[in-house]
């Protein structure tokens, strides 16, 4: 799992059926790269979260059939990134 920060939400009306009605979030990883993740938790902008990737991302969804490769697993209580 990796630690990332929530940058905002993403609205995507036209989507494949496999994504269902899952919320999408824009995340930034430690290298500053922007990624999109499915959010079953309800994270807000500025939250630090940890994410499951690959096939684990599908099992982190309520429906394992969800077609994702990045899912937020939880919100970190206290996190101060150094640098």
């Amino acid at each position: 799992m990796e630690i990332m920060q929530v940058m905002g939400r993403l609205v995507c009306t036209q989507r494949v059926e496999g994504l269902g009605h899952m919320h999408l979030r824009i995340l930034r990883n430690n290298k500053g790269k922007q990624l999109v993740a499915v959010d079953p938790v309800g994270a807000r902008e500025g939250n630090w979260v940890f994410t499951a990737s690959g096939s684990a991302a599908r099992f982190a969804c309520p429906e394992p059939s969800t077609q994702t490769d990045l899912t937020i697993g939880g919100i970190i209580d206290f996190w101060t990134p150094d640098g």
Partner: protein, 91 residues
């Protein structure tokens, strides 16, 4: 499998039910911080081996556990400054 150093436990109260109440640890893989599910019970500064991919899911408890990195062992003796010597080439 990766050789990582344990930094500290990671506290996440608000998490998806799939992760249950398992301990999470912040680990250092080289210089990048990652989060791993702790299946053995390690302490900060321990050197550990972590598995990824589908082995991480089964090592953490079940085939459907949503982990992509799981700590599966604590290394007894590890000196990061002296890498494992390469076997000498045969002449």
């Amino acid at each position: 499998m990766l050789i990582c150093k344990v930094v500290k436990p990671l506290v996440s109260t608000n998490r998806i039910p799939g992760f249950e109440h398992r301990h999470l640890q912040v680990v250092l893989d080289g210089s990048s911080k990652k989060v791993a599910v702790d299946a053995v019970g390690c302490k900060p500064d321990d050197w550990v081996i972590c598995v990824g991919s589908s082995a991480a899911r089964e090592a953490a408890g079940s085939k459907s556990y949503p982990s992509d990195l799981t700590i599966v062992g604590i290394i007894d003796h590890w000196d990061p400054d002296s890498p494992v010597p390469m076997p000498e080439e045969r002449k």
